[in-house]
């Protein structure tokens, strides 16, 4: 079994931007992670567009930008029909990078790892004032 592939499905240009960022940082090939926008697409057309990007016999994660909405609905419909596919909703850049680094893992383990990475990557780090840290103001 080859490494898991990914399709990012999002609103507007989000998917293209996210995939571009992952390629820039992780240096992955064009077939590993492919973007798809829902712009101007009917629900049926979006499902057809995702199907066209699937490769027979290769496990694929369908990443969507958020949990609700047309992208997630299309992805979940396909996952219900197609073995070897999984959905991750609310994907962000740390999740995508984790995917790029660990896509040789078995599908179940990879999905669990990516969901955990997504949850832990949303933070608001406390930043003390410069004076409190003994630093001069810039």
């Amino acid at each position: 079994m080859s490494d898991v592939r990914g399709i990012v499905i999002g609103h507007g240009a989000m998917a293209a931007g996210m995939v571009d960022a992952v390629r820039q940082i992780a240096g992955i090939g064009e077939d590993v992670l492919v973007p798809l926008s829902n712009k101007g697409m009917s629900p049926d057309a979006l499902i057809s567009a995702v199907r066209e990007k699937l490769v027979e016999g290769e496990e694929t994660i369908l990443f969507t930008d958020m949990q609700g909405g047309s992208c997630a609905v299309a992805a979940r419909r396909l996952t219900r029909e197609l073995p070897g596919t999984a959905v991750i909703c609310g994907a962000n850049l740390p999740v995508m990078l984790e995917f790029a680094m660990h896509r040789s893992l078995p599908m179940d383990a990879l999905v669990a790892r990516l969901v955990e990475r997504g949850r832990t990557s949303i933070t608001s780090p406390a930043t003390p004032p410069a004076e409190a840290a003994g630093q001069k103001k810039p």
Binding site: H11, G40, M41, S42, A45, G68, G69, S70, A72
Partner: protein, 164 residues
Amino acid sequence: MSIILLRVDERLIHGQVVVGWGSQLHPDRIVVVDDDLAASEWEQELYTLGLSGGLAAEFVSVRSARERFASWKSSGDRIIVLLRDVNALQQLGAGDFLAGEQVNIGGIHHAAGRRPVLPYLYLNDDEAAQLAALHGAGVRISAQDVPSGRRVESTEFMAIERRS
């Protein structure tokens, strides 16, 4: 407050409705009028996943919608009513049922046999005829995808449709 938006959008509950219109209209409830969804718990879960902020969703058949429409109009809740396509709107509006109501056309996209009218609105001959008939029956129809977009009255977009 009653029905604050009666919308035709083939994507039903999605970002433009929940975030775009929701942030402007502050609905308490979304009612999806669709015979198939009303009969499928899995489909309902598919569309309600991701709803937040206490916004409730309910799925009813066209027949049930016609029975309950008056109660929605007099409800204390602020309700968005969604329909999948023009055919469903025609069924709901049969017999001048929707005369005087305002209908928002928000998203009917390209498919075989449909011609472009607006960037988010494509119609085939049957759909154009159904909308014209509803307009003739006193339904006030306009197209607008998001609150910040321009509202296009049916007289304007039907003229575009006839030229396309």
